[in-house]
Symmetry: C2
Subunit: 331 residues, 2 copies
Amino acid sequence: MVTIKDIANKLGISVSTVSKGLNNASDISDEMRQLVLDTAIEMGYTSKKMKSQDSKKVCIFIENMGYESIEQFGYEIIVGFKLSAARRKWEVTVVPTNLNMQTEEKYDTYMLRNGYSGAFLLGFTLHDDWVKQLNKTTIPTVLLDNYIENNPHVGYVGTDSFEGIDQAVNHLCNLGHKRIAFLNGTKNSMVSEQRRQAFINSMIKYSLEPDENLIRYGYYVPDCAKDHVPEFLEHGATAIMCASDLIATGVIAELTRLGVKIPHDVSVIGFDDLPIASQLSPSLTTIRQDRRDLGKSAFLLLDGLVNGVSISKLLLRAKFIARESTGPVKK
Amino acid sequence: MVTIKDIANKLGISVSTVSKGLNNASDISDEMRQLVLDTAIEMGYTSKKMKSQDSKKVCIFIENMGYESIEQFGYEIIVGFKLSAARRKWEVTVVPTNLNMQTEEKYDTYMLRNGYSGAFLLGFTLHDDWVKQLNKTTIPTVLLDNYIENNPHVGYVGTDSFEGIDQAVNHLCNLGHKRIAFLNGTKNSMVSEQRRQAFINSMIKYSLEPDENLIRYGYYVPDCAKDHVPEFLEHGATAIMCASDLIATGVIAELTRLGVKIPHDVSVIGFDDLPIASQLSPSLTTIRQDRRDLGKSAFLLLDGLVNGVSISKLLLRAKFIARESTGPVKK
C-alpha cells in the first residue's frame, strides 16, 4: 500500500510537504500541491479518510439537470441517494459542475483533495472530460445512464427502457395507430440510443413499420419539438412518442399551436413521469422512471463498489402509465 | 390489505379454519389447507411474518448445481448471500429442489406456507414450473442468470459475459489464432445465448470470421466435450473457448486422449474460474465470475425488492485471467 513516505521519496521532498499538499495547506505553492496530488493518484494512494468504514464522505456531481425543486428530474434521485446514505451515516455533498471545472482539475485529484470516498455523477455525457477520465480511475464511481467499459471501479445505474417502450408501443398499436413517430433526446447519449433501439424493436414486434422519416433526434428540452412536429404531421404521424416528458410538453405546445387536438387528432406519450405529466391538460400518458429508487439504487451500487463488489450495471423496471393524451386513432 | 377475515368470508368458512390452513395445523384436511393457501395467494395475502422488518426468513432454492463443497459453482454464491443476510439478521434456508417438488406444490403457496419473505433461485431453467409461475408472483424473487419480463417483484443477477469474452477473443487474436471454436453450454439457457452472442460480436470486432461449424451447444458438464472436439479439429480449430470451466476440463481430457498438445497444438479457455482452473495442468486460462460477489449482489437485489425497489437486472463485471492453456497459434 502506498504511503505518504513513498510519495515523498519519489518526489525527493519531505513528508510534511506531501502532507501539506494532500491536505490543502496554504503554505505551499499551487504547483507543488498539484504535483503532490498528481503523483499520489499516479501511485494509487488513498487516504485513511477515504477508506474509513465510518462516516464516509461521498459526492454527487450534477450538470445539465435540474434538481433544486421537486418538479425537476434530479430532485428525487438526490433525495433517494441521501436517504440511503443517511442510514449508513455517509456524508453527501452535492456539487454542481460544468465544463470549466472539469478542465481546471482532474477528477481523481479533485476527489483525493476533498477526501471523497466515491461519487455519483448525474447528467454527464461521454464528451465530459471527467467521464473520459473514468476509464482509468480507481475511485468508486456511479454514473446515471452511462456505461464505462472494463473498469471494475465504475458502475452504471439506470432504468431499463425496453419494457416501458414496449408497453407504450403495444398500447398505441391496440388503439389502432400505425404511423407512430419517435422524438428522441440528444444524439450520442447512451440512453437515447437505447430508447431508439427499443422503439424500433417494438415497432417490428407488433408488425408496424418503423419509418426513418418519423424517427428524429432532438434535445432533452421542450424547445426541440417545433423543429420536428410539423415534419411528423406531413408524414402522416397519428401518434408521437417522446424520449422525455419535457420533450412531450414541447410537442403538446406545438400541436396546440398548429390547431391539432390531443388525443383526438394525435396521441402523445412522454417518458419519466415527472410531476408535470399528471398536471398537463390532457394529462400525459408516459413511462415512469422511479427517481427515488434510482437514487437508492445508485447508493447500493456505490456501496458495493466501495466494498470491492464490481457491479457493472444496475437497472430498474420502467412502468407504463396510461392517461388522457393517448386515444384511438382518428378514422 | 387482505386479512384472514377476508379469506374466511370469501370461502364461507371460519377464521380459525383459515388460520389453521395458513399455519400448517394438522387438524384440517389437506384439501382444505390447499384451498386456503390458493385463495390467500389469489387475493394477495401476505402474513405478518413475511412483512416483518426484523429477522426475515428467506430461502435459497437450488437445483442442477453443485454447492456443497468449495470446488463447486454454487458454494461461494451461497456463502456470499449468507454473509450479507447475516449482517441484516435474515435467516437463510437452503432448499435443494427438483421437478417433482415443483409439480407437487405451486411456488407461491410453498413460500406462503413456510413464511418466506423472498427467495433466490439458483440453477433453474425457463422450463421449470416454478420459473414459469414467476410471471405472476408478488413474492420478491431473485434469479441467477434468468430474466422474467414485466414483473417488478422479480430480479435477475448475473455476470456480464460480454466484456470477459471480448478480452478472451482479443487475447487469442493477439496470439495469432483465427480458427476459434466455441463450445457452449445448454441450449435455451439465457446465459448460453448471451455467451454465444458475445463470442460472435467479438469475433466480428477483431475481424475474425465466426464459422458455424465451430460453434456448438453442449451441456454444462465435462462429458459433452467428446461429441464436439473431434469435429472442431476436423474443421481446423486452433483454439477452443468453452462456456464453463467444467466443459473446458472435458475439452482438455478429450484433446489429451487424441494426443493433441495444449497449448502447443490447440489453446483452451474456460469460463467461471472455479478452483480447479488454476490446479489443472496446464492451468486454465479463463474468465472469472466472482461467485461470492454474485451471492452478495443477489442479497442486495432481494433486499431492494423486499423494500419495493424494482431492480430488474444487476450485473457484475467478468475478469479475464490468462494462464498456461493458451499460447501462440501453431505455425
